[in-house]
Amino acid sequence: MIEFSNIDIIRNLLIATQWTILLSLAAFAGGITVALLLTAARLNKTPLLSIFVRIYVEVFQGTPLLMQMFLCFFGLSMISIEISAWNAAALSLTLFTSAFLVEIWRGCIDTLPKGQWEASRCLGLSFLQTLRYIILPQAIKTALAPSIGFSVQVVKGTALASVIGFVELTKAGSMLNNATFEPFKVFTFVAIIYFILCYPLSWTSKFLEKKFNASR
């Protein structure tokens, strides 16, 4: 049997941490892209599109992320689309992230007074111009803090990819636990690494929230 020193455990965990970070980035980038499309669809005010976005949000916020991953991983391969654990995890996390972001952004856009839309219309600005010059500059300010706050949930969500066999931090922790029989130590290390990843994000979110609230 191979002996694992503390250094070995930490080194292996840090290697796996790279995958956690990569998966988080992919999911967040994907989530932002999809959420932008959905927000555009919602602002378009076509009834069918808004209903679609509502159902989309309800479904992805109302079902466990783990279930979404299982469906992506096992479901797609059943209709003969071969999908790797990485792709399944990235896809389901993207869908999950976008559903929450679109809801957060909805709040930020809807709290702006309706008069601003009307005033812009009176000034002869088109829909896109209103969005670009009036609405977004204000909405982005208020959306920044909660969006960064949500990114913590994305990083933590990547831990579930371990269940479908993708080797990231949590999976590496389980494997090291099986090799060393020292669960207390291994999972403490795992938790510390997640904390180091997440806490700066939480802190930034809180900081921005205070900053923007103070300026108002």
């Binding site: 109302g62 992320l65 979404q68 949590t170 020292e182 999972f187 939480s202």
Partner: protein, 220 residues
């Protein structure tokens, strides 16, 4: 291609799993919210030491994944002599998780209480406990009730992870069924639908309770 009739023989399994999930959610919501209210009070009105300890707890839980907390409790604690059944470990994980989030949410509510209310209550001769329970707490919770509702639903959905330490919940049932009849997509689809139903019903229940509890404003 989809074949749901293969799932019918396993209706019992699904129902049992659903019941376990409901049961776990019910207990953990109750305990988690009570603990959250206590900790929020400690953090808002306690000494700086107490407030510091509470905020370390809150940040630790909020910045680590639920599944790692679960593994730590279930696999880690026995090595220092704390043996727990899967059910107990899952329950504890859910409670400490919800408590951490609800501490933060309820504290935000308590923070909005105007200072004059405390002063007025003091002048009227109410003790700290009386002021907190009879004057401050209910309106504070009312303000953050939607956030609290969402958090309880998130914890319920998060409980799907408990299947990983073989708590026989709804997800566990789905895994069991798909391992027997290889109908994984159908099995998970039905399960996802059941979770969605549970989430919708939970929101309805919270709204009903909310209307009851926060009806004091209505003058009869």
């Amino acid at each position: 291609m989809l074949n749901f009739s293969d799932l019918l023989p396993y209706t019992d399994q699904f129902l049992k799993g659903l019941l376990t999930t409901v049961e776990l959610t019910l207990y953990s919501t109750l305990l988690g919210l009570i603990l959250g209210a206590v900790l929020a009070t400690a953090r808002q009105y306690g000494s700086s030491l107490v407030a510091g300890v509470v905020s370390v707890y809150v940040e630790l839980i909020r910045n680590t994944p639920f599944i790692v907390q679960l593994f730590f409790i279930f696999f880690g604690l026995p090595s220092i002599g704390v043996m727990l059944s899967p059910w107990q470990a899952g329950m504890i994980a859910m409670v400490i998780n919800l408590a951490a989030y609800s501490t933060e949410i309820i504290r935000a509510g308590l923070g909005t209480t105007p200072k004059g209310q405390w002063e007025a209550a003091k002048v009227l001769g109410l003790s700290f406990k009386q002021t907190l329970l009879r004057v401050v707490m209910v309106p504070a919770v009312e303000k953050i009730y939607p956030a609290l509702t969402s958090q309880c639903i998130i914890v319920m959905l998060g409980s799907a992870v408990l299947s990983q330490i073989s708590v026989p919940d709804l997800t566990y049932a789905a895994n069991l069924v798909q391992s027997r009849n290889f109908r994984s997509f159908e099995s998970y689809l039905i399960t996802a639908g059941l979770y969605l139903l549970l989430a919708i019903l939970m929101r309805k229940a919270f709204n009903m309770i909310g209307r009851r509890v926060f009806s004091y404003r209505v003058i009869k």
